[in-house]
Each structure stands twice: as C-alpha cells, then as structure tokens.
C-alpha cells in the first residue's frame, strides 16, 4: 500500500479542518483529489507529507509512519510538487532538478556524479533536457512544472503529491503536464494530485477522492464518483455528466448555461450586454 490513512483528524485551534478520514491508496495508482477551496485538500497533503505533525489518527506511507521518520527519510518516501512558482534567484533548470539530491547527501555534502546523472535522466524523461542550462525563471509555466516533476522523479520516492499542478497553466501545458503525470503512474509511481477540474479526473486518474467539509465524501472509480449530485454538492453547480467516445471519457457540462443561449449560440447578445455590431 502506498498510503494508508486511518481516522485522520486535524485542527487549527478550534477549527476542525479534517475529520475521521479513512482510506488506502494502492501502489501504482493515480488519484485525483477533488473538493472546493478550503475543503481541506492542502491540509491533507501537508499531513501526508509530514509537514503537519500534530494530527490525530495514523498515516502510513509505504508502510512507514511519517512522524517517526527524519526529514531526509521522509523525502525518500514521498516527493512534493508545489504549484508552479517563480524562484527568487535565477537558477539553471538543471540546478533546480539537482536539488533532489538533498535527501541523499549530508549537511555539508554536495551532489555527486550519480545525482547529476539521475537529474539529467529525469529531465530527459519529461522531455526538456534541451532546457537544462536555461534559467528557471525564464521558461514557461508548463516547463517550470515539468522541471519540478523531473525533480520529484530524481528524488527517487515512490509516491508523489502534487498540489494543483496545472492551476496556473494554459490549456496546452495543462494537457502536456497531465499526460506526463499519467505516464509516470503507469510506470509504477503512486501520484496524488488535487485538481479543480472534474473533467480532468475522467481522463487522468485511476480513482477520485472527494473531500467535502473536511470529511471523506466519496472515493472510487471516477465514473462512479463524479455524478451530477456530487458536483452539485461540492461545487454548487448544476451539471450534466455526458459520455463521449463509447464511454471512454466523460465530461461535465453546466446545463443551466445551455438554457441561457439563444439560437445564435451566444448568451451575451441575448441579454443585451453586448451587441454584435457595436463599436
């Protein structure tokens, strides 16, 4: 089992953020975590990563209690990919990936030849080895995200957590990053990522875990979990779940919006806010 969570609870003071979470995530699984902003997704991730330690219940990652491990041991079990961010200083892409060696070398150590090979191989794996010597701050958001994924690969942990990896990316980069993530999971990694797009879960997940008001609301196959009722409950939006390509994939369509459209297919003309030939 990659992750086993039993009766997990977490509170910031009086504010109970997570309540009685129970779930297990098998090895080689790609899990999408859904939930509205503030539902507790990030808190759950930080508990799993061992960044928050004062939770109740137990968390086992690859069979090990994260609270009993040192910082370096934790980094060997589980890697973290934050939302793409810009670094304060202009590091080369390869030097950002090389930071993955931190869990291997001691306080005064430096990355060795094997770490450098591993870092470069990881860049090749995500397909951006040509950017190795470019400054990290000057590549696109999608390339930055791929750099961080390469860093997580080079970290050699079996489990990876990604907090909304595509929230800041355009459509093309989103697809590129997610397909890279799916390929990694098919090669044996467990990946847990949060997303705000239920549609992504149909394409890029083995199972979906839904957090609502700090509780585990649903967990299972995306086709079973993501329904009109669920989206209505957690996001407060009325959608119709439609199946495409012989049910190979499904999409959520906000049905109320359909009614607002007139025959021209544009609701703005209809409501009079903007006329076609206004100048």
């Amino acid at each position: 089992m990659s992750i086993e969570v039993k009766n997990l609870g977490f509170a910031f003071g009086d504010n109970q953020v997570l309540k009685g979470l129970d779930f297990t995530i098998p090895d080689k699984t790609l899990v999408n975590v859904l939930g509205h902003n503030g539902a507790g997704k990030t808190t759950l991730f930080k508990c799993l990563l061992g960044l928050y330690r004062n939770y109740t219940g137990t968390i086992l990652v690859n069979g090990k209690d994260m609270r009993s491990l040192s910082v370096r041991q934790r980094a060997k079990e589980i890697a973290y990919i934050p939302q793409s961010h810009s670094s304060v200083f202009d590091y080369d892409v390869i030097d950002v990936v090389l930071m993955s060696a931190a869990s291997d070398v001691g306080y005064i150590g430096q990355p060795k030849a094997e770490h450098k090979e591993r870092a470069y191989a990881a860049l090749e794996k995500v397909g951006i080895e040509n950017l190795a010597k470019r400054p990290y701050t000057q590549i696109s958001g999608g390339e930055q995200q791929l750099t961080l994924i390469a860093r997580a690969i080079a970290q050699n942990a079996k489990t990876i957590i990604m907090d909304e990896p595509t929230s800041a990316l355009d459509y093309g980069n989103t697809v590129r990053v997610l397909s890279c993530v799916r390929e990694l999971s098919s090669e044996g990694m467990s990946i847990i990522q949060s997303t705000h797009q239920p549609d992504h879960a149909f394409l890029y997940s083995d199972s979906v875990l839904v957090i609502h008001e700090g509780e585990l609301y649903a967990y299972g196959d995306p086709k079973d979990v993501i329904t009109r009722e669920l989206v209505g409950t957690i996001y407060g939006v009325d959608v119709e779940v439609t199946s495409l390509y012989g049910d190979k994939v499904r999409v959520c369509v906000p049905v109320k919006e359909l009614g607002k459209m007139d025959k021209k297919g544009t609701r703005w003309f209809h409501s009079g806010q903007l006329k076609p030939h206004d100048s």
Partner: protein
C-alpha cells in the same frame, strides 16, 4: 516524453566554464591588488624590498632588504595588517551578505540591512561604555548582532504582505532601534575618553588595524566562513521556501540556524575590528550573481574572493585619495546606496 535515457548527460551540462574563468580572474585581481597595496602609501616601498620582507615572514628565511628599520616597522605593523584585515573583512561581509540573501529568500538583504551590523555596533558600544576589554567587545558585538537578526526573522515571519519588503522594512526598524541604542550610549558616555572611542570606532575604518586585531578575529571568521562554505549547496534549497525544502529532505530549521549563526558571527567579528562598513554585503553578491549565476556552489566562493579584493581596493582609495584619510564606510555607502536604488528599480520584486 522520451523513452529510457539513451545517453549519459553531456559533460558541459554540469560545468560552468564561465564561472570558473570568473573565479580565476577575480583571484588574480585580488592578489594583484594586494601586491600593489603593499607598495602604495605615503611612504612608498620598493617592490624588491616588499617581496623580501614578505618572504622573511616564512620561518628560517632571512633575506637582506634595502628597507630602513622605519620602513620595516611600517610594513609589518601598519601596512600588512591593514591589507590582511581589509581582505578578511571584505570576504566576511560579502559571504554573510550572500548567505543572508539565500536564507531570507531575499535579494535585498545584507548584514547592514538586517540590522546585524547596527546590533554589533550597539553591543560593542555598550562594552566600550562599560570599559570592557577587546574580547568582551567582540563577544557583545556578536550577541547583539544575533539578537537583531533573530528579531528581523521573527517579525518578518509574522508580518503579512510582500515578503521581500517586509524583511527590508523590519530590518530598517531594528537597525533604527539599535542605532538609537548606540546614540544613547554616546549620550551617557564620558566625553573625554569613551565617547571619542565609540564615535571613531563606529565610523567604519581600517586605520587602526594591527596584528592584535587580526589575531583576535581570525578564529571566529575562519569558523564562520568554513561553515558557510561547507553548507553552501544547501542554501540553494532554502531559497525554494521552507515547506518545499523540507519535502526535498532538508532540515530547514537546522540549516537556517547554522547559516544565520555563521553569517552573523563573521559580521560581528568584522564590525568588532573595523566598525560599520555598510553595503559591501549587498553589492558584491549581486555583482557575482550576474557573473557566475545564482548557484551557491559558485556564488559563495566568488563572493568571498570578490569581496576581499573589492574592500581592499576601496580601502586603498580611502587612504590614498586625500592626505587626510576618508573613512571607508563613507566610500562604500557612496557606492552601495545608488546600487541598492538601481536594484529596486531594475527588477520586479516578488
């Protein structure tokens, strides 16, 4: 996505030929500046004599020099200590600046902006006021410098808003608090002896450099510089932010504490022998970052070497430009303050 990696990484991905060249050039400049500085001054010394006197420092070497006894005394007791101290202090302040910029994830920090220098000044002023000896002066300088830095760290971690600006602003406030403390010690100091001692000492000058000063600070400086040098790669990871660094396997609390202690130690040691010399710790790491990149594996050594050469050259200017010496702190401020303004207008602060 590529298949299994087909080939080994190209060798030049991990080498930075430019950085290597820069470090060599900086070293040559520093050594050349040191050699020339030995000859320059109100009493010029011939190159041959200077070389002979230098070689005479090596045990069992005794070369006849053409220098007078007076020139020898000047060489050994005044000029040589001053040059060594300028190199050491420049190296320390620049290394500390680079280290602070990394741990605070902030390009606009330096020992003086964080209030470490002013804290050291207050500690030293109190020690002078109380009539304590030079070791106690250094000790007090260190204690107050570390208090100042920890206060800035504490305040900036609690404040909301743009982190870069919050660190700079809380540094300004702590500096001002420490400066007020210094002013107060001056107010109650004896105008006949302790007041001039404090005032002159605060001005930032290498004029009074002597071998005793060097003997006193060489150990703490070496300790701090070695610690920073050994941990330099980890500073890179701290700049990614605490949570991210921790998930990469870095014990951020320990690394940050050690780096801050080491950087503060070398700052306090510098302030204890030369008073406040501002701006070096801000300017030099930035120039080096432009030359060798952000990676601390290259940035820290480059900053140390450039800082040493930079302060030596500025000190040469300060003692040679006019007959009455200009305190070096004034010169570094003339260079540093415009540079700071350039930095804040040049790039977007995140």
């Amino acid at each position: 996505m590529a298949d299994e990696p087909r080939e080994k990484a190209p060798a030049d991905v991990f080498t930075n030929r430019r950085a290597r060249t820069v470090v060599i050039v900086l070293t040559v400049i520093m050594v050349a500046a040191a050699c020339v500085s030995l000859l320059l001054g109100r009493y010029p010394i011939a190159p041959g004599d200077a070389l002979a006197m230098l070689l005479n420092l090596i045990p069992f070497v005794d070369i006849e020099t053409g220098a007078t006894a007076q020139a020898e005394a000047l060489f050994y007791n005044v000029r040589l200590p001053r040059i060594i101290l300028a190199l050491l202090v420049g190296c320390c302040l620049s290394a500390a600046g680079a280290a602070f910029q990394g741990t605070f994830q902030n390009p606009l920090t330096s020992p003086d902006i964080l209030g470490a220098s002013q804290g050291a000044a207050l500690g030293a002023a109190i020690a002078i006021l109380l009539g304590w000896g030079s070791v106690a002066i250094s000790g007090m300088a260190f204690v107050f410098a570390i208090i100042a830095v920890l206060l800035v760290l504490l305040i900036s971690s609690r404040a909301r808003g743009n982190k870069v600006l919050v660190v700079v602003l809380s540094g300004v406030m702590i500096s001002s608090l420490m400066s007020a403390g210094v002013s107060f010690t001056k107010l109650i100091a004896d105008p006949a002896n302790t007041l001039p001692a404090i005032t002159y000492w605060l001005m930032g000058s290498l004029t009074s450099a002597n071998l005793k000063d060097i003997a006193m600070v060489i150990a703490p400086m070496a300790l701090g510089l070695v610690a920073l040098y050994l941990m330099r790669w980890r500073i890179n990871i701290l700049t990614m932010g605490d949570e991210e660094a921790e998930t990469l396997g870095v014990n951020t609390k320990v690394v940050r504490l050690v780096v801050i202690l080491a950087a503060t130690l070398v700052t306090a040691a510098s302030v204890a022998v030369t008073g406040m010399i501002g701006w070096v710790g801000l300017v030099v790491p930035h120039l080096c970052r432009m030359l060798v990149g952000a990676d601390y594996r290259r940035l820290l050594p480059a900053s140390m070497i450039m800082g040493a050469g930079f302060l030596l050259i500025v000190d040469d200017v300060s003692r040679l430009l006019t007959t009455a010496e200009i305190p070096i702190g004034i010169l570094t401020a003339f260079i540093g303050a415009p540079f700071f303004l350039y930095l804040i207008t040049r790039r977007k602060l995140r």
